[in-house]
């Protein structure tokens, strides 16, 4: 009996000797905490809000007609130390998910972008299926795969930060895009202007197009998603400072049937709705149809750049605006990776232009034969093989 326990003890000591940890080094966290004002959304950050609104008027630097290569007020960094001459890059990508049409379109665009660069000989993609825990493992896995560069689209900001820091620590250039993380260790962080600007675009449009005292219904997908919370925080700020009457803020779960039911209920409850603000456009068509089905005029609408909404907009002559969170941002990380591996400079924070579609230019963006949930801002029209992979 004692011999057995002795063996166990020895095994235990040997095991402990081989013990190691993947926990990354502690680094001071990047961003500060959002200001807390009970009437405002807790996600509202005045400084960032002002910054994003200012960006809307800034002139982008970069080639005309290629917004995915343009940058706003860039601060360049040197990447000479990452240069790998001779091509044959292995590009690795940790994708948060492909669980919604926006990400689907974006990912397809990214895959086609990779094909445009013969220097990339291998494109390794790991899909985290919207699970933080899996993405942490995925990034760890990629760190050990001899990648020339790692692109990361994080599922959640706070929880993925340690994993990103760990990836940076391996010495491989790390590029983060879409959602950010709380560390400045990546070589570049690529994103369009931001959620505050998106929300503000819509709210300002309603302020201009709805009479004072008019009733506005706000439709949101889910609480707690930081990119969406920022959109609402900005809109809330603008609505509070206006004479519009926000009669309701409802969560639709991104479900078209639920959206339609909620809007119908509000039309019945309020009698007349003068404006609809939405934080994303996937169920915009359902919301518009609710007005049509009730037999009332469709009011001023805030949508997004999905094809089904744009088509409906043009066909019915709606008063609408479509802020965008452009899917062409999925092209930029690949471009950035190639630049870094060639030793060219890139901005520390690569801010892409965030166009909005208005009544004036909507016709340019409607593409009749594309799928209903295809995003007009994909930047993919001039890519070889279009429209094949996106259709």
């Amino acid at each position: 009996m004692t011999k057995r326990w002795a063996l166990v003890a020895v095994a235990g000591v040997l095991a402990l000797a081989g013990c190691s940890s993947d926990l990354p080094e502690e680094t001071p966290s990047g961003s500060g905490s959002p200001s807390s004002d009970t009437r405002r959304s807790e996600f509202f950050d005045q400084a960032e809000y002002d910054r994003q609104l200012a960006f809307r008027d800034a002139t982008p630097q970069g080639p005309d007609g290629k917004p995915w290569e343009q940058m706003l007020e860039p601060q360049m960094v040197d990447t000479a130390k990452y240069a790998k001459p001779g091509g044959k890059y292995r590009l690795c990508f940790s994708n948060a998910a492909v669980d919604n049409p926006w990400r689907q379109v974006g990912f397809k665009t990214m895959q086609q972008e990779v094909k445009l660069h013969p220097e990339i000989s291998d494109f390794v993609v790991l899909d985290a299926e919207a699970k933080d825990d899996k993405q942490i493992s995925d990034i760890q896995s990629l760190s050990g795969r001899d990648c020339s560069a790692i692109i990361i689209s994080p599922n959640t900001t706070a929880t993925l930060t340690p994993a990103v820091e760990q990836a940076c620590a391996t010495g491989v250039p790390v590029i983060v895009f879409d959602r950010g993380v709380n560390t400045t260790c990546p070589v570049t962080f690529i994103h369009p202007i931001g959620g505050f600007a998106f929300g503000a675009n819509g709210a300002e449009f309603l302020k201009e197009n709805v009479k004072p005292g008019g009733k506005v219904l706000a439709l949101r997908i889910l609480p707690g998603v930081d990119v969406l919370e920022q959109r609402w925080a900005a809109a809330n700020e603008i609505f509070s400072g206006s004479e519009l009457d926000v009669v309701g803020v409802e969560f639709t779960d991104g479900d078209a049937a639920k959206t339609k039911s909620i809007v119908s209920d509000y039309i019945q409850r309020e009698g007349k709705i003068d404006g609809v603000w939405m934080d994303a456009g996937a169920t915009a068509v359902a919301a518009v149809e609710a007005f049509q089905d009730a037999g009332v005029d469709v009011p001023a609408f805030v949508g997004e750049d999905q094809q089904d909404f744009l088509r409906l907009w043009v066909d019915e002559g709606l008063t609408a605006v479509a802020p965008t969170y452009p899917t062409y941002q999925w092209r930029t990380p690949v471009i950035a990776a190639v630049k870094i591996l060639k030793g060219e400079q890139v901005p520390k924070e690569w801010v892409l232009p965030q166009p909005r579609i208005t009544g004036e230019n909507v016709r340019e963006y409607v593409k009749e034969d594309m799928p209903p949930l295809h995003y007009a801002m994909c930047g993919c029209e001039d890519m070889p093989g279009y429209p094949g992979p996106w259709k």
Partner: protein, 347 residues
């Protein structure tokens, strides 16, 4: 059922053709009535029939799903695949129609056929391969979800035609009643057909299978065939729900999310003991309508969306506890004198 027993059952059924509520239906109807009164009090739209018609139109898909789920649950199983089947139906229809009006009829038939097929597979695997229906339909849910999006490369394509959407979205002029939504008419037709079916021999045999499968088998009943029928009906009705939902809400990638749990909740709310053998199809449909009415009422009252889930949870537990405790008592009282009978309760 043996021939004599079947004949006896039919005679009994023929003698009692006047509309009668099956046991256990009453509580859910009381709940529904309370909710409807609540709506009338709270919402201005519910002062006239058009408001209630709109509620029925919105609730029709869930009610139809609940009817289908009822068949499966009363015979002792589960169908977890209906939500995925609804999504699949809508996505397939959108892709095949692609905006072409002339394709509507063909695609509608195809979607219905697809629902039948899925139900058939579910039923066959459960009865022939002896896999519990919970697992079969869970596996089918995974397969449907994956396969449909594999086919469409992750996001729905195409578009539904106006003709297709008419069923879920449009209305028709009925003399005396005015504009009645198509979905309400379809719902009523299905409800009547289902109620009549459950009164017939096959319907009662279905209930018997859920109540005491061994007894039915020993008395010569075709247990496997009955169970298979239940799954086929569930799949078919899910396809109908898909057509109605696609019409109502349009193309979306997640139209069916969570519907299987809602349908099961509705059936349980209607008083069917999970494990089979009790309740009525009218109660199941009433349960679905109650759920929809409850959500609408909560919305009107301005109850925060988050609390909606908690309220639903409490109601579910309360309803089941009531049905089980009350039902258990009734069952004990009823079975004592008729110990040898294998006749199921009339439904």
């Amino acid at each position: 059922m043996t021939r004599e027993a079947g004949v006896a059952a039919r005679r009994e059924g023929a003698a009692s053709w006047r509309p009668r509520l099956a046991e256990g239906t009453a509580p859910v109807l009381v709940v529904l009535l309370l909710l409807l009164v609540g709506l009338a009090v709270t919402g201005p739209a519910y002062d006239e029939p058009s408001g209630y018609l709109a509620l029925l139109k919105r609730a029709a898909p869930l009610m139809i799903l609940a009817i289908g789920q009822y068949f499966v649950i009363v015979s002792g199983g589960f169908d977890l695949s209906v939500g995925a089947l609804v999504t699949a139906g809508v996505v397939i229809a959108a892709r095949l129609i692609d905006g072409d009006e002339s394709a509507t009829t063909g695609v509608v038939l195809l979607v219905l056929g697809f629902g039948l097929l899925v139900g058939l597979v579910n039923g066959l695997v459960t009865t022939k391969l002896l896999v519990p229906s919970f697992i079969v339909t869970l596996g089918m849910m995974l397969v449907l979800d994956g396969a449909v999006f594999l086919w469409t490369d992750g996001a729905p394509r195409g578009a539904l035609s106006a003709g297709f959407r008419m069923f879920g979205r449009g209305s028709v002029d009925v003399p005396l009643l005015g504009e009645v939504p198509w979905s309400v008419l379809i719902l009523l037709a299905i409800l009547v057909a289902a109620a009549l079916f459950m009164r017939g021999g096959t319907g009662r045999a279905l209930v018997a299978v859920g109540d005491n499968e061994a007894a039915v088998r020993l008395s010569g009943g075709q247990v496997d065939r009955l169970r298979l029928l239940a799954f086929v009906l569930s799949g078919l009705l899910a396809a109908v729900a898909a057509i109605l939902l696609g019409g109502f809400a349009g193309v979306s990638a997640q139209v069916g999310n969570g519907l299987e749990f809602r349908a099961i909740t509705a059936v349980v709310l209607g008083g069917v003991l999970l494990g089979g053998g009790r309740g009525s199809v009218v109660a199941a449909a009433a349960g679905a309508l109650s759920l929809e009415a409850l959500f609408t009422l909560l919305n009107l009252l301005g109850v925060s969306g988050a609390l909606e889930s908690a309220v639903q949870g409490v109601i579910i537990i309360a309803a089941v506890a009531y049905a089980a405790l009350g039902g258990g008592l009734r069952q004990r009282l009823r079975w004592r004198p008729k110990r040898n009978s294998t006749q199921p309760a009339p439904s």
